[in-house]
């Protein structure tokens, strides 16, 4: 407690000092800069401190060269202040769980703005559109694009587009027209404004803001479909916003009389051009990035730089061509993720991810702080009760109406309908933010006489949505959820069944290759595998993707073969019973041959279907330990609490789709990887066990291995249809080649597998794990899993 208060005090004093310094610095700068300097060419930043072109009296040991460093110093100082504010905000976690960070940052912005205004009598620092659009926004959007869960995004793309395009147009039109109607009705008094200006205002206030959405949804955990809808909408609606803004701006410049059908059609066409053009620019840059990273094998340290620079360039290029810059950078991030993650060195990937988060966080913080500061400027404040209140009302109400209407239409075509609570959250989560403010600040005062009114209204709208809606979002969601579901504590049995069902459904999904994929997606997938990966990925990355499981297959094979051979050597029974000696040290055996491929195997762990293969291999190669851990805990209590607690802690969570939680401040967890590895190892082990025990079942009958001697083996093999198994050789001929030194034994072991195939399944569902506990001799019929072993991993991507 005391420590926290101290930190608080420290923070506040730091603030004040910093700001005072800044302010004084600006004052000094302002006064110095305004002095006429006839003799000095160029800027006011004189070289000699304090020199005004007049002669100096003597050598100055130390001078105060404020001008020299003014601009960069201020920038650095502001970044520092923003960082410290974030730190202050995060001091008290219980506060941030109630009030979203963004709201607190705006508060701090107000305080700072007040201080500056108090010192300067004018607001020297505001969020200018240039700084915002060129220096603060791109990294936030790049971060959003790079971490976007692609699969989820594209599978919901239709709905997202509907909300982004139609929803935004609806919002813009209704707000604009509504305000216009009210103005005609006289609710706003006498202001110098027209229909077109209302429509323009509507279009810039209508757009949901990605920065604000993330900031709020970080605290409120909603299901992933809902999240991607709102998030995707906030990103994609920029295409519409830009077009509408430019079109109406042009219309206002032209004047009302010039607008005819041609212009309107041009406006509509420009939407398509801007949107698709922007995306195209982004995709081109994504290709560039992928190609570049493909060639950087020798100089991996500069790889991360390319990502950021090219991302930024895509933004600027689209801006230069008057296309949608946000769409461009979003698609750049979305399209290049997969390839750069595969191409780049692991450390580069980590660097990119981390630095991107740092930049995005920093930008977001600065944006919100400045949004707060910009408000403390009486020069921009114009109060018009009618206008402001009506705007608030309209954006709120029309958002709800729009979302519900569109959802009603969409639900007819969706397999999983969006429920009522989802729609409420979606409507309520339509936050406006800095983009709207940036746009409104760009308006030309001469054309828009009421610019200050609009600026004030925008600020109030932003504060209202970010702060009020942000704060109340969580309680609202909780309240609605509690009303819906009767939450009772599940019993143990229910919990287990619940989890079993989850696993079952995941398994079925894997087996069926996900029923319901449409033709286009499969076609795209094939195209992508064949051409794009070939073009954009490093050869070694490609190879490792394809061969990753061949390697594993070989490794596992060798393991199996050597395991069994060892058993043969030592005498079967002793080996079978002694399960603890089944360590195979892959590290020694295989490190040499596979070491070159190992480092290139990238962790592709962004989507649910990309299991981090490298982590599996890296862990399994050094030590595939087939020993089960034994711990010495003696848990004698069997109280409910402990059992529930155990389940809570230790049930495997399975591969769910709820894994990509986009978060500004957290990179993904590693727990799932460990879990997957553990499950994987256990499955392999159990299959190995069944293989081994089935083999042991053969051994007593025949000590010496023989090949193709199926007829000789007695009742243990009711042989149905095993006549010609040679072509179904489980290992495949080519695999024998890998065991260079082991050719002979490979054959032997392989030969022993023939009889395995001949076993008929007598039990219905065989359970390899079951076998480990029972006497292996009894269960000769565990064959499907015996046969499972060799072909286990012989497949890339099924």
């Amino acid at each position: 407690m005391a420590c926290r208060t101290c930190l608080w005090l420290l923070g506040t004093t730091f603030f004040t000092c910093t700001v005072r310094l800044v302010v004084e610095g600006t004052e000094v700068g302002a006064t110095q800069g305004s002095q006429p300097e006839p003799g000095v060419v160029g800027s006011n930043h004189s070289q000699a401190g304090g020199g005004h072109g007049s002669s100096i009296s003597g050598i100055q040991i130390v001078t105060f060269k404020w001008h020299h460093v003014e601009a960069p110093y201020l920038i650095a100082l502001w970044i520092l202040v923003a960082g410290v504010s974030k730190m202050v905000v995060e001091l008290n976690h219980s506060l941030t769980s109630v009030i979203p960070e963004s709201a607190l940052l705006i508060l701090i912005g107000w305080i700072l703005g007040g201080i500056i205004y108090g010192a300067d009598k004018m607001q020297t620092f505001t969020l200018t559109p240039t700084v915002f659009f060129f220096y603060l926004l791109p990294q936030v959007i790049l971060d959003a694009g790079y971490f976007m869960p692609n699969k989820l995004f594209f599978s919901n793309m239709g709905a997202i587009l509907v909300y982004a395009v139609i929803g935004t147009c609806w919002n813009a039109a209704t707000v604009g027209l509504g305000l216009w109607g009210c103005w005609l009705g006289g609710a706003m008094g006498d202001i110098d404004i027209g229909l077109l200006q209302f429509l323009l205002f509507g279009s810039l206030i209508a757009a949901v803001d990605p920065v604000a959405v993330i900031a709020v949804f970080e605290e409120v955990h909603v299901n992933e479909v809902l999240f991607i809808m709102v998030f995707g909408e906030s990103l994609l609606n920029d295409g519409v916003t830009v077009v509408l803004f430019n079109v109406f701006d042009a219309f206002v410049s032209l004047g009302g009389a010039e607008i005819d059908a041609v212009e309107i059609i041009k406006g509509i066409i420009s939407f398509f051009v801007v949107a698709f053009g922007g995306s195209l620019v982004g995709i081109i840059f994504a290709l560039l990035i992928s190609l570049l990273t493909r060639c950087t094998k020798n100089i991996q340290i500069i790889e991360p730089g390319f990502i950021f620079i090219l991302g930024y360039l895509s933004y600027l290029t689209a801006e230069m061509l008057s296309l949608s810059a946000i769409l461009s950078i979003v698609f750049c991030g979305i399209c290049c993720q997969k390839y750069i993650n595969a191409n780049m060195d692991e450390r580069s990937v980590t660097t990119v991810r981390y630095v991107m988060k740092v930049f995005a966080n920093g930008s977001e913080t600065i944006i919100f702080v400045f949004l707060g500061i910009s408000a403390i400027d009486p020069a921009v404040w114009v109060w018009n009760t009618g206008f402001i209140l009506l705007t608030l009302l309209f954006i709120f109400v029309f958002r709800f109406i729009g979302v519900f209407l569109l959802t009603w239409i969409l639900n007819k075509y969706r397999l999983v309908p969006l429920e009522f609570i989802d729609q409420v959250v979606m409507s309520y989560g339509g936050l406006r933010g800095a983009v709207a403010y940036g746009l409104v600040a760009m308006l030309d005062e001469n054309k828009f006489k009421e610019k200050n009114l609009m600026v004030s209204t925008t600020l109030i709208v932003v504060y209202f949505t970010v702060m009020l809606q942000g704060i109340t979002m969580k309680p609202l969601v909780t309240w609605l959820k509690v009303k819906r579901a009767a939450v009772t504590e599940l019993t143990l049995a229910e919990k287990i069944q619940n989890r079993t069902f989850d696993h079952m459904l995941v398994a079925i999904e894997d087996i069926s290759g996900q029923i319901g994929h449409n033709y286009m997606r499969d076609k795209w997938h094939n195209f992508e595998e064949r051409w794009l990966c070939w073009f954009l990925m490093k050869p070694s990355a490609r190879k490792s993707r394809d061969y990753i499981f061949n390697i594993f297959h070989q490794l596992n094979l060798k393991d199996a073969m050597s395991y069994v051979k060892e058993g043969e050597r030592r005498g079967s029974l002793a080996f079978v019973r002694n399960e603890t000696k089944a360590d195979v040290d892959f590290n020694k055996k295989f490190r040499a041959s596979f070491s070159e491929i190992m480092p290139d195997i990238m962790a592709d762990n962004m989507g649910p279907d990309h299991v981090p293969l490298s982590s599996i291999l890296q862990d399994i190669v050094p030590s595939v330990c087939l020993v089960m851990h034994e711990q010495d805990l003696t848990m004698r209590e069997s109280e409910d609490f402990n059992a529930h607690h155990l389940l809570q802690q230790h049930l495997y969570r399975g591969r769910k789709q709820h894994r990509h939680r986009y978060s500004r401040s957290h990179l993904e967890t590693n727990r799932d990887e460990n879990e997957v590895q553990e499950i994987f190892q256990r499955t392999m082990r159990s299959r190995l066990e069944s293989f081994k025990s089935a083999k042991m079942g053969v051994a007593p009958a025949k000590k010496i291995q023989t090949k193709h001697q199926k007829k000789d083996k007695p009742q243990k093999m009711p042989n149905g249809n095993s006549s010609d198994k040679s072509k179904n050789h489980p290992y495949g001929d080519k695999d024998l080649e890998f065991s260079e030194g082991d050719c002979g034994s490979g054959d032997e072991a392989a030969g022993d597998l023939f009889p395995m195939r001949a076993y008929r399944v007598e039990a219905g569902i065989v359970n390899p794990a079951f076998m480990a506990e029972m006497d292996p001799m009894d269960n000769m019929q565990q064959i499907p899993h015996v046969a499972l072993l060799p072909q286990t991993l012989n497949s890339f991507d099924t």
Partner: protein, 209 residues
């Protein structure tokens, strides 16, 4: 149906095509049958027209599923070593969420078991529960014994859970679920324990379009 037969050249007879497409039409659309056939072919690398356990084993993601091997086993009826397309689809059809839009043809045979008990579940969910029950019940005696439950628990819990902890969980589970006190979970008791699990919701979430 003739269309179905044309699409699936490798299956045995036309009559069988008609039969199972008849049966399945209630549950699976023709488009899905085509897709499943593609999948079947992709899995059946040796083009024998049948799937063997190792073809399933080749799906690497199943190796990362705690009960993956059991699910594989569920595809193989007792006495069978291979799965043909018919059985493949039939089992997968259990997991297809019921689509309200498809017109119900009264002449189509109802999936089995729906008339045999007065359940509030739709037929599909019921058969889904019986599949799940089979996963537990290895020896097909209609009951999940303590040993069988232990095995499933073992596979679903992390390795650091000790045997004693495991047994205590299994004991408590049986205590809770076992209503007739025979130290085993019958199908009815199993079904009861699933009442609170929103299966419909799970299935529909899983199989997004």
């Amino acid at each position: 149906m003739i269309w179905c037969a044309a699409v699936l050249p490798n299956t045995n007879t036309n009559s069988m095509n008609r039969w199972f497409s008849c049966f399945l039409f209630n549950i699976v659309t023709p488009a899905h049958i085509v897709r499943l056939y593609d999948r079947f072919e992709a899995l059946d690398k040796e083009k024998t027209g049948h799937l063997r356990p190792q073809d399933f084993g080749a799906i690497n993601r199943l190796a990362m599923n705690p009960i993956g091997d059991r699910i594989i086993g569920a595809f193989f009826s007792p006495g069978q070593e291979t799965v043909d397309f018919h059985s493949f689809v039939r089992i997968l059809a259990h997991f297809r969420p019921a689509d309200k839009k498809r017109p119900k043809d009264p002449s189509m045979p109802e999936p089995v078991n729906s008339r045999t008990s007065k359940l509030k579940y739709p037929p599909l969910v019921f058969s889904l529960i019986s599949v799940a029950f089979q996963l537990y019940d290895q020896d097909k005696d209609g009951k999940i014994s303590r040993a069988e439950l232990l095995q499933v628990l073992r596979s679903m819990l992390e390795m650091q859970v000790t045997e004693e902890q495991l047994e205590s969980i299994a004991d408590r589970t049986i205590q809770e679920a076992d209503l007739d006190k025979d130290d085993a979970i019958s199908f009815e008791e199993f079904r009861k324990s699933l009442e609170k699990v929103n299966i419909d919701h799970k299935m529909s979430i899983r199989f997004l379009r």
